[in-house]
């Protein structure tokens, strides 16, 4: 009996010891900054790409596979960016299991730029001028390395409900609406007028969405060019105060929440800050086909000039064993011709200069939005973008806290108090 007990104790301590050993061994994985050994694709082996949401690549990949029997490509689709982001971070941490080509949401690019040694430099002379400048800049490191190829962009227009405008005695014609909403002051003033005439409906969908739209015109929203966090700029505070002052114009629900979705059909939403991809959300929130009497339209205008919201990138991690093939494939996918085809399928607006002038893009109309010339409108909106906000590595984290701060005001918290909480939330991120 005694002997057994001693041996159990021995066994237990041996187990703990081996665990501790394993623990310390686990800390030192492969060096993620070192490039993997390059190999040729074996027979039956395929280049891998992971995308999220709908990139519209199915037909393109078939086309590529037919033309490149040696470099077959296999796509993995993940439902949502948030899901893929969590998975991607786990894989980056383990430095294992990453695909050869990784699709990344635009807001996440600063994280790639902050860790350039992990990613293959994709820059090449013949790609100069392919993308809108701000798209390339957001993927370029201080040393001039390009860590991602831009896929789509999110130039913003205003989507509006013509039937609600009419009810409020406002003009309903696209051009007249565009003339009405040239500045943010105009936008809010028209909103006050609208709300007086149609008090039961909301002027815009969510305070957070307007805040995001205004933020997309601030040059240094949260961080300075050297990546130091700075949330004390008067521009930022002004965005916050303006939105906080007008919470009654919106639904008071957080964007993407259940109440936000419901507000489209219940109270009704008159305007939405509208990048190309937002049309799909409006359709699904409002119902497609639209209920009787509901008529959406797109105005070729954005308050305060242009603004970009969203758009993704393709990147190649250094753990890829087929980096050249991966780069070629990503380059082909993001070429203007291919992205113009994507636009036709999904409505994701291209970020390539040439694609913006592509006849098939320019001629596109959207029947759900009263046959608005969507291609032409979004091309104009892309050309109107003058300021691209600087996104440092903490951008998306701070943005989330900023959205929380706006949301608190929606819920009735005093704006000054909510701002204080925002400041302490941001401090906790450093």
């Amino acid at each position: 009996m005694h002997q057994i007990r001693r041996s159990t104790r021995l066994l237990a301590s041996a187990a703990v010891a081996s665990l501790v050993l394993a623990t310390s061994a686990c800390g030192s994985g492969d060096d993620p900054t070192k490039s993997a050994e390059q190999k040729k694709l074996d027979d039956g082996e395929a280049l891998t790409i992971t995308t999220f949401g709908e990139f519209g690549y199915d037909a393109l990949i078939e086309e590529w596979n037919a033309a490149h029997p040696d470099v077959q490509v296999k796509q993995t689709k993940v439902g949502k960016w948030d899901t893929w982001k969590a998975d991607l971070q786990t894989k980056l941490q383990a430095n294992k299991g990453l695909p050869d080509v990784v699709a990344v949401e635009g807001d996440f690019m600063p994280a790639l730029v902050a860790a350039p040694e992990r990613w293959v430099d994709l820059s090449s002379d013949d790609l100069a001028g392919r993308w809108l400048d701000f798209k390339t800049e957001a993927a370029t490191t201080a040393d001039g390395a390009l860590v991602g190829y831009a896929t789509d962009a999110g130039p913003e227009a205003i989507c509006y409900r013509a039937d609600l405008f009419e009810k409020a005695g406002l003009p309903t014609d696209r051009a007249e609406v565009a003339a009405l909403l040239g500045t943010w002051d105009d936008f809010f003033a028209t909103g006050e007028k609208f709300k007086k005439a149609v008090p039961e409906a909301n002027w815009y969908d969510a305070s957070g969405s307007v805040a995001q739209a205004m933020l997309n015109q601030v040059e240094f929203p949260f961080e300075q060019a050297d990546n130091t966090v700075d949330v004390s700029s008067p521009e930022l505070r002004q965005v916050f105060d303006t939105v906080a002052e007008h919470v009654d114009l919106g639904s008071r629900a957080a964007q993407w929440s259940a109440d936000w979705t419901a507000s489209f059909t219940k109270a009704g939403v008159a305007t939405v800050a509208c990048p190309g991809w937002m049309r799909a959300n409006i359709k699904s929130n409002q119902g497609d086909p639209a209920p009787d009497g509901v008529q959406w339209d797109i105005a070729d205008v954005f308050p305060g000039g242009g603004g970009n919201w969203g758009g993704s990138y393709l990147a190649v991690p250094k753990s890829s064993t087929h980096q050249d093939d991966a780069q070629q494939f990503a380059s082909w996918l993001t070429a203007p011709e291919q992205q113009a085809k994507v636009f036709a399928v999904t409505g994701n607006f291209p970020s390539q200069v040439e694609a913006l002038a592509d006849p098939s893009v320019l001629a596109a109309t959207d029947p759900y939005f009263n046959d608005a010339p969507a291609g032409e409108i979004f091309s104009n909106r892309a050309a109107a973008i003058t300021v691209q906000p600087y996104h440092g590595p903490l951008y998306s984290d701070i943005l989330q806290k900023f959205q929380d701060a706006i949301n608190r005001v929606d819920q009735g918290t005093d704006p000054d108090k909510s701002w204080e909480t925002f400041l302490s939330d941001v401090a906790a991120l450093q």
């Binding site: 187990a15 310390s24 948030d82 941490q93 860790a115 993407w256 109440d259 608190r408």
Partner: protein, 348 residues
């Protein structure tokens, strides 16, 4: 899969046992026996005896070993590694461990107002869920223990919520408790009352979340109680009834004291579970941040750990918070255990 582990191990041990194990004294004289076939038979017997002795000694350990091996891999190892990470910095850009920083992470977490908010939320949700849950479960079990028509049906139906995946349950409750478009608020407005801001007001949100937890776990606990109650000898009730004790009196004086061990078990497990509520608050917040409300009004501590680690990529701080939570849970489980024992012993 797990069954193969002890088998192969057992084979290994028996193969090497003659070398390490002491030869039986009884075996020796037989070697001088003339008949070779006899000798072989005896040796076989001997081997079998040895094997069966080893079997007796080792097998129990091997049978329980799958659990402990698994526990070491997914329980003990993460626990220790978390402790290791908690005293290190974390490089967010490259996802690697940084320098040793001592207790800095613990200090940071304890000073973080959000962490303190999360602790208060955790305890509030825990009290709103575990206490009514155990009381309700005991009463339901008491009712199910009587002669009901269609007993199996009733017993099955209390377990039904447990079978529903928590994520699905939250979706249902989410649309019930939506602030503007929810069914519950619609009903309240029908009655002429104001709607309750389930996602905004701190204590109401806790109540909604505790409701989901209770809905899921009450039936499960009731079944455990029921199993214990069925083991109570029936003649005790008959004797009590002869003495003129009513049903309530029987329940309090016979049933409760006799299911004490089960009581302790359920209270301890529901304490541990109640302090680790995660899915419900995570999904109850239907904004994209999913951090337990804009003001963290219903962020629990496990959610805090997840957000700090997986989302914000501060593994050191998240690990420190996890360890603090671990210590709190251990302390409370021990306290609960002693209290329950004391209380039920007195009534026994």
């Amino acid at each position: 899969m797990t069954q193969q582990v002890p088998d192969s191990r057992a084979g290994e041990v028996t193969a090497t046992s003659p070398a390490s194990g002491s030869p039986t004294p009884a075996g020796r004289p037989h070697r001088t026996e003339p008949s070779a076939s006899d000798d072989a038979a005896r040796r076989r017997l001997l081997r079998r005896q040895r094997r069966s002795r080893w079997d007796l000694k080792l097998s129990p350990y091997l049978y329980v070993s799958p659990f402990f091996i698994l526990f070491a891999l997914v329980g003990l190892f993460p626990l220790l590694y978390t402790g290791f990470l908690a005293v290190h910095d974390w490089n967010r850009a490259y996802y690697v461990r940084g320098d040793f920083v001592g207790l800095d992470n613990f200090v940071w977490v304890l000073k973080d107002p959000v962490f303190r908010t999360s602790l208060v939320n955790t305890f509030s949700i825990f009290l709103m869920s575990s206490v009514p849950q155990v009381l309700l479960a005991v009463s339901i079990a008491g009712l199910l223990d009587t002669r009901l028509r269609g007993r199996t049906f009733w017993r099955m139906s209390v377990l039904l919520p447990f079978v529903v995946a928590p994520a699905a349950a939250v979706l249902i409750f989410g649309s019930l408790f939506a602030d503007q478009s929810g069914v519950v608020n619609g009903f309240l407005r029908e009655l002429g009352l104001d709607g309750i801001r389930w996602h905004v007001d701190r204590w109401w949100s806790h109540l909604a979340i505790a409701g989901m937890v209770n809905w899921r776990w009450t039936g499960y606990n009731a079944l455990i109680f029921l199993a214990a109650m069925q083991a109570v000898p029936r003649d005790l009730y008959e004797a009590a009834a002869l003495d003129g004790a009513g049903r309530v009196r029987q329940f309090l004086s016979i049933t409760l004291p006799l299911i004490r061990p089960t009581m302790v078990f359920v209270i301890v497990t529901s304490t541990i579970g109640g302090l680790q509520v995660f899915t419900e608050p995570r999904l109850f917040d239907d904004t994209p941040s999913r951090e337990g409300g804009a003001d963290h009004q219903f962020m629990t501590t496990t959610l805090y750990v997840y957000v700090k680690g997986i989302e914000d990529q501060f593994y050191g701080r998240a690990s420190a918070a996890a360890w603090i939570l671990f210590l709190i849970i251990v302390a409370i489980a021990v306290l609960n255990f002693t209290l329950t024992r004391l209380l039920t012993r007195r009534s026994a």
